[in-house]
Structures are given as structure tokens and as C-alpha cells.
């Protein structure tokens, strides 16, 4: 009887973990899409159909969700133009000095002269190769924020698949890869880039996205730490 209960509890915990990994993958996927290109009609409709948690416990995530919600509830066709303009203003800018936008490339924030295609790009590319991820139609530096977020999404999906298959070791390995990547890359430059996003963007949408991605990355790093610490302690 007791064994049955323990087994049931373990199964429930595993199901929770799978749901957690799926949720993380969805969240990273959503954020990657929003950074990858401008919001189009289909994306806007999908965003307006979403439900945003009102209180997650993380102040930045909550503020981000509220700002996105406030923008989206008054959005209509014209907002697609407005967001496209703000996307260019925020991520491309109009200057050539390296200080005119929130450049979405890690190299810009981690190289002395704020240049693209620097060491960070080489490291990210190496990580992608180590994890059997190949460049698809992407033609720019692999240290773009959208690609880094998508990497986290892919790893979360792999972790979920491994858990479903009952391969805990593989799942833990994927989580370790994510933690290392988040520490070495995402969290290394995201605070600076999101600060720039708030400086350059004029819509609540990109202001909110800056808060959301920063808060979520921090929160997720804490979750990964907690999970992996419990694994280490158990071992």
C-alpha cells in the first residue's frame, strides 16, 4: 500500500516536472518569436487570445504581463504598424555608433567596441553544434536574443521528452546545459539589453517584453538552480 502511494507520488511529481518543462518551452518559444521579427496579424491575434497570469510572485514578470496586456487590450489593425515601427526603433535604430538601439546580439554587449560577430557569437555557435543544432534559414549571428531564447526552448523540450521517456539522467543533463547557457550567455547581457529596450521603445508592448524576458530569465535560472541542487543533494 505504502509502495503504491510512493509510486503514485513519484509519478505525480514527474508529471509536474514534464508540465513545468513544457511550460518553460512554450514561454521561451513565445519570447523568441517576439524578438525574432515584428508582430504580424497572426501573432497579434494569438497574443490577444492568451491569458496572462495576474500575479506570478515575480515583480518584473508581473509588470511585463500587465504592460503587454494593457497594450494588447486596446490593439487593433493599426497596432501592427505601430509595433513594426517600434521594433525597428528599439532593435535597429538609426545610428551607427553602437549606442542607438537595444541591439539584440550578445556580442554587441560583451565586446569592448560593441561589435557583432565577436567571441560571444563563436561560443554560442559552439554550444549549438555541441547540441546538434544546425543553422536553418538564419543568416545573422547566432548570438541573437531570439536564437538564445530558442535554444533554451529546445533544451526544455528535450528535457520534457526525456522525462516522458523515463530517462532522468538525460533530462538532468539537458537542465545542466540550460543552466550553464543561461549563466554564461543569457543572464550575462540580458540586463543591459532590456535596459536599453526600455530606453528606446515607445510602446507598452516592448517595454513590457523587456520586463517579462528579464524577470522570466531570472526566475527560470532560480528554478533550474533549485532543481539541480536537489538532484545534487540526492546524489
Amino acid at each position: 500500500m505504502a509502495e503504491d502511494m510512493i509510486a503514485a507520488q513519484a509519478a505525480e511529481q514527474e508529471a509536474d516536472l514534464v508540465a513545468l518543462m513544457d511550460g518553460r518551452a512554450r514561454m521561451y518559444g513565445l519570447m523568441a518569436r517576439l524578438f525574432l521579427k515584428e508582430v504580424d496579424k497572426a501573432a497579434l491575434t494569438e497574443l490577444q487570445g492568451m491569458r496572462f497570469p495576474a500575479a506570478t510572485g515575480n515583480a518584473k514578470v508581473d509588470e511585463g504581463y500587465h504592460m503587454l496586456y494593457d497594450y494588447l487590450r486596446t490593439s487593433w489593425d493599426d497596432s501592427i504598424n505601430e509595433l513594426a515601427i517600434d521594433y525597428v526603433r528599439t532593435f535597429i535604430g538609426h545610428g551607427v555608433n553602437g549606442f542607438s538601439a537595444a541591439y539584440p546580439f550578445e556580442s554587441v554587449y560583451t565586446s569592448e567596441r560593441r561589435l557583432m560577430m565577436q567571441e560571444a557569437r563563436a561560443e554560442v555557435l559552439q554550444t549549438l553544434r555541441e547540441n546538434n543544432l544546425k543553422r536553418g534559414s538564419w543568416t545573422e549571428g547566432e548570438d541573437h536574443i531570439a536564437l538564445e531564447l530558442e535554444f533554451m526552448q529546445r533544451m526544455a523540450m528535450r528535457a520534457a521528452d526525456a522525462l516522458r521517456a523515463g530517462d532522468e539522467d538525460a533530462a538532468i543533463e539537458h537542465l545542466r546545459t540550460q543552466r550553464t547557457f543561461a549563466q554564461d550567455h543569457l543572464l550575462n547581457w540580458l540586463p543591459m539589453m532590456t535596459e536599453d529596450m526600455r530606453r528606446f521603445s515607445r510602446t507598452m508592448f516592448y517595454q513590457g517584453l523587456a520586463q517579462l524576458v528579464m524577470g522570466y530569465a531570472e526566475e527560470d535560472a532560480a528554478v533550474l538552480d533549485e532543481l539541480l541542487d536537489s538532484v545534487d543533494q540526492a546524489a
Binding site: Q48, R51, P53, H66, T74, S75, D77, N81, N97, F99
Partner: protein, 271 residues
């Protein structure tokens, strides 16, 4: 200009050399704390105006009145004029953006444009022909069990576009056939019989350009100075009597309304 005059205009010591600006040598002491652009730490950004938006090209302020601005907008966008005029008609009394989009898309199906409904409406709004009415929205919250609260958008915003008095006035001018009459009965009065033939021909059924060219070529009056079918298509299209639809030229409602007047004028001319 004498050299001594040049010397007075040109101070060599103050010569501006854009290449001399060193991006890496920024003097923080020079920065203006009150200028938010100084936070980007770059000298050329400081003098950039905060608002980089350009002034509207067609606006009541610039053209000296809303009617003038709208007419000027139409004049400089001849290819979009039919759809812009139609928008003014549809929005008289108010039209939901979603409904307007369907109508504009249908109208532009045979005359495609990179301009979507909102872009066209914004052009008319800046010129003073349309007004946008945004509905009020309220924050929707939903409890989804276990105390978790969600923010959810239950109703999508669908604003209303409404034609202004100036827009209504221009719409009246554009649809009363005055431009057509000026062209057919005045400027091109010499070709009245050709216009009559072309309009009657197209009224029977939609025609191709070649059909119209052949018809026009049979008239003596177009031989010298030479006029081709394209001229008559062009003039009738410009005055909203003819339109391109389903891969052929067709008479518009206005064209059908004008046809009896053309027939009457032709009969009168024959007497």
C-alpha cells in the same frame, strides 16, 4: 567672389571635420543632464530632436483647410483615389474598422496596393476627412481556480471611422459627376461621339483594352491629332466613369449615371 569676402565667411580655425569626431573619446563633463539623449553617451545624438516624426504632407494646416488637404491628397494619389473616395462614402455615419477592411480589400482586389485599410484611413484622418472613435475598454480578470488570477482580453477593439464634414463635402464633389462633365463636355468636347461610343460599348458588357482600341480607331476625329483608345480609357478612369475589374474594363455606377447625359449632349450636338 573676391578672396577678402571669402575670408569673412570662412573661418579656417573653426572648420568642421566630421571625421575628427572620435567615438571613443567622450567627455562626460560636456554632457547635459537635462537632455535625455545624453544618456546614450554619444556627441551626435545630443542635438537630435526628440521627436523625429515628419510633419504630415496633407494636413489642414499645410494646405490651408481640410477640404483643400483632402483634394490635394486625392490629386497626388490618383491610383488610390477611387478607394479613398469610397472610404469617405462608407464611413459617412460611421463604419467599424473590421467592416471597412472587408470592403476595402474587396475594392482593391483588382487594383492591389501596399496600402492597407488603416494606412489609407490614417492618410484621410491626417488630411481631416475622417475621425477615429476608439471604444472604451475595461480590464478583465478571471479567477481560474486555486486562487490563480488571469488577465484576459474578452472583447477585441474594433474602432469606428467616421467621415467629417470636410470629408463629406469632398465626397459630394467627387461623386456628383462634375469632373466627368468638365472632361467630356468641356475639355474633350471635340471627342464627344467617341466617349459616347466607348461608354455604350463598355455598358453592353465588360471589354478589353484591345476591343476599345479597335472601336476608337474607327473614328475620323482621332486620326489627327492622333488619339488612341488608351486616352479615352485614361480620362474615363480618372473621372471615375470606368474601372478595371475582373480583368476587363467596366462602367462604374457613376459612368452608367452619366451615360444618358452623354447621349443627350450627342443628340443636341447633332441637331
Amino acid at each position: 567672389m573676391a578672396e577678402d569676402q571669402i575670408a569673412g565667411l570662412w573661418d579656417e580655425e573653426e572648420e568642421f571635420d566630421p571625421l575628427a569626431v572620435d567615438d571613443l573619446d567622450i567627455d562626460q563633463e560636456d554632457m547635459d543632464d537635462d537632455n535625455p539623449l545624453d544618456t546614450v553617451d554619444y556627441p551626435t545624438m545630443r542635438n537630435m530632436p526628440e521627436d523625429m516624426r515628419r510633419e504630415a504632407v496633407y494636413s489642414p494646416e499645410r494646405q490651408g483647410g481640410a477640404v483643400e488637404a483632402v483634394l490635394s491628397l486625392f490629386d497626388h494619389n490618383p491610383a488610390r483615389r477611387p478607394v479613398l473616395v469610397s472610404i469617405l462614402g462608407w464611413c459617412d455615419g460611421g463604419c467599424l474598422n473590421s467592416e471597412l477592411t472587408e470592403k476595402v480589400d474587396a475594392l482593391q482586389a483588382d487594383n492591389r496596393s501596399v496600402y492597407g485599410t488603416t494606412t489609407l484611413c490614417r492618410m484621410l484622418e491626417r488630411a481631416g476627412a475622417l475621425e477615429l472613435e476608439m471604444p472604451e475598454t475595461s480590464e478583465e480578470r478571471e479567477d481560474a481556480g486555486e486562487g490563480v488570477e488571469f488577465l484576459e482580453i474578452k472583447e477585441r477593439v474594433d474602432p469606428v471611422w467616421r467621415t467629417t464634414d470636410a470629408g463629406r463635402e469632398v465626397f459630394g464633389q467627387m461623386t456628383d459627376g462634375s469632373a466627368f462633365r468638365t472632361m467630356v463636355f468641356d475639355r474633350d468636347a471635340k471627342y464627344l461621339e467617341v466617349y459616347r461610343a466607348v461608354m455604350g460599348f463598355v455598358n453592353e458588357r465588360p471589354r478589353s483594352k484591345d476591343d476599345i482600341e479597335q472601336l476608337v480607331d474607327a473614328f475620323e476625329v482621332v486620326q489627327s491629332p492622333r488619339r488612341f483608345g488608351g486616352h479615352f480609357i485614361d480620362m474615363l478612369e480618372k473621372t471615375d466613369a470606368l474601372c478595371w475589374k475582373d480583368r476587363s474594363w467596366q462602367l462604374t455606377d457613376l459612368g452608367r449615371r452619366m451615360l444618358p447625359e452623354v447621349e443627350a449632349a450627342f443628340s443636341k450636338k447633332g441637331e
